[in-house]
């Protein structure tokens, strides 16, 4: 299938500062892709190139199989992290302005807008002044302005910032509905790793302008585990650790307060020694009460990857 977004060697510098080193990346249709990275990693630079605000210095940027050009911009919706509204305009007038800028007929836009106002529970705000909006309300209006023209690629930079949990859930459900019902592709830039775990099929992690990690979210988390497991054993811990020797690395140990011979251990198994083989060996020395692979959160993956990529 032709990817919605394909970059090959795309890079951008500002003076001597390399904002984005040559980047190869792909986003497939109908997927939710998390664009992650610490501040200054190059995320906004990449998003600005995708949204046509700036041009790459070099490399090829293809959208829907075509070299990027301005006509494709109306097929996208972009919600930047730093966003605002014209204070002197009314709410509906403003959203309709953006929709018509993106080529939507005013009558269609008005019809769609009414539906979106109902979905996001902002009925009654049609003719209100923007200056009267709370931050959360303004966020919802900005989200509507981004999706009103039914974009095929939705680029959202920190879409939940400023929203309370209820409204964040409301917006999250709408994002999932767009992907499920309309096949919208979603490129999500965020520092909220909980949202990444809950929403993203794939992630791309940038650090200091370079891609340091990419792939399906589950696969990324699995890879980042690096053979780590968590086991609960009953028996002589000293003897077990001595037997374990250099077979595996003992990362942490904790003896349970209620039972002095029950211990929770975190181990890093070497390559080629998978959990079934380890368990078969371990039961010869202790009673294994519980064993499971150590599942890293996206936050842990993020920190681990960034730290290891930082010299």
């Amino acid at each position: 299938m032709t990817p919605v977004l394909h970059t090959q060697g795309v890079c951008k510098s500002f003076g001597d500062h390399v904002a984005l080193a040559p980047l190869d990346a792909e986003v497939q249709e109908g997927r939710i892709v998390g664009l992650l990275g610490p501040n200054g990693a190059g995320k906004t630079t990449l998003l600005r190139m995708v949204t046509g605000i700036t041009k790459p210095d070099q490399g090829e940027l293809r959208m829907w199989g075509q070299p990027h050009h301005r006509d494709l911009l109306s097929r996208m919706g972009y919600l930047p992290e730093e966003r605002g509204l014209y204070k002197s305009m009314r709410v509906a007038e403003q959203v309709l302005y953006f929709a018509t800028l993106r080529g939507m007929a005013r009558s269609d836009a008005e019809r769609e807008l009414k539906a979106w106002f109902e979905r996001l529970e902002v009925e009654g705000w049609w003719n209100r002044e923007v200056a009267d909006l709370s931050k959360g309300m303004a966020q919802k209006i900005q989200f509507i302005a981004t999706v009103l023209h039914r974009p095929e690629l939705l680029i959202l930079d920190e879409p939940f910032s400023g929203l309370d949990p209820i409204n964040a859930g409301l917006v999250r459900n709408e994002m999932l509905r767009l992907v499920k019902d309309h096949g919208t592709t979603l490129l999500l830039s965020t520092h909220d790793m909980g949202s990444v775990e809950a929403l993203c099929d794939e992630v791309i992690l940038l650090h200091r302008g370079k891609k340091v990690l990419s792939g399906a979210t589950d696969a990324v988390r699995e890879d980042a585990r690096k053979g780590r497991i968590r086991v609960a054993v009953q028996g002589n811990l000293m003897a077990f650790v001595a037997e374990l020797g250099a077979r595996a690395e003992l990362l942490s140990k904790h003896t349970r307060a209620e039972s002095s011979d029950v211990h929770d251990l975190e181990l890093a198994l070497p390559e080629g020694w998978a959990m079934p083989e380890f368990l078969a060996w371990a039961v010869q020395h202790v009673r294994v009460l519980e064993a499971r692979p150590l599942r890293l959160s996206m936050e842990e993956v993020f920190v681990q990857t960034v730290e290891s990529a930082t010299p």
Binding site: R48, I53, T54, R70, L79, P80, E82, F98, T146
Partner: protein
Amino acid sequence: MSSPSRAFEIWRTVVRREYVTRVRRRAFLVATLLGPVLMVGLVAGLVLLTQSTEEPTVVWVADHDGLLTVPTSDGQFVPTCPTCYPERKLLTYRFGREVKTKEELSAGGFTCMVELDEGVVQSEKAQLLHLTPPSSRAKRWVERDLSHAIERLKVREQSDLDYDAYLALQTDISLVGLDIATGERKGEGQGALGFVFSLFMLTFVMVYGMHVMRGVIEEKSNRIVEVVLSTVRPSQLLAGKIAGIGLVGLTQILGWTALSWVLFFFLGTAVEQSAWLDSWTAAQGMTAGTADFQTVLAAQDELAFLLDIDWAVMLGCAAIYFVLGYAMYGAFFATIGAMVEQESDAQYLLLPVMTPLLFSYILASMSIEAPESTLAVVSSFVPFSSPISMMVRLPMGVPWWHVALSMALLAATAVLLVGLAARVYRVAILMYGKRPTFRELVRWTVRPDSGAL
């Protein structure tokens, strides 16, 4: 700490922060140091320009009846009161009996001619026929000199003069300026009208230019510009903003024009239907029913010139000069807006834009005195001053090619500057936390490859 003293402390802290943060800025220091230099330079420049551009007035006094002159042995004529015509650098008199033609005046190096006959003693009015209109200053000198000379004449004819009789003899000659080729009156009324137009032009260009700047700053500080630029090219956004706000200004000009026309129409109707017009007609010795509002206007010395103005040309030119002048200055204002994140930061950058505007205004005020001076003519061609300077010349009558050339130069400059402003704007508008340096501005205008898709 007591409440009032706490309030004072807070107030003082705020004042201190506001003061210190501003005076620490380099732009503030530069402006503070350069301001007086610029002002002194400006004043000195204006003085020099005025000195060098006011053309000398050479007057031929055609004294038909020999009121003020006597012949000499060599067939020339000299004034009976030589001290009445003090020597001046920019004003020279020659006296004679005969009226000269336009060609004779031109060949003799005269710029104008005053015709005197015995009637001037009673009427205190004389005609000043000019090849080029004298400056207001020169005209006042001629009026004063002739008044003194005629006063002398009157006093000489009175043998038993008391003080009251002397006061009655005091003379105040007023000259009516007429173009020798067309016979049209051109004078202070037109100059004042032109000055009012130039003042409006200055105000409009400045006010709407500031609108552009504020609009750009609002978009940048609100961060809404990034959303807009994901759909619209920076150059489109800039051009749209300048055009949209310019249209607002044009609408205001049209509105004012329409409203003025309506008001004049109703005023005229009211005058024509009033009993006052009948009494005025009778007082003028005219046949009842023959006067209308225009007749009344034409009879007013101060207002009659309004009927000579070609209002369609005047207003049409004003609208075109506004559009072009505003576009040119709007490009500067937009660039300043893109370079800053809040309006207070723009104040120091406004100096280079406001200086040519205010300089044009001063030139315009000087052009009233000498509308055909080199300074007035040149400034009506220079694009930075032409929208304001040409407004003063227009009511006096300007060759069509002057207007066409001036507009063409202004239009070309406006297009060029809007193009250059767009190059700066598209980069600067997305720059936060740092104001572009002069070197960066030059680089963006010279090498415009860092823009949008």
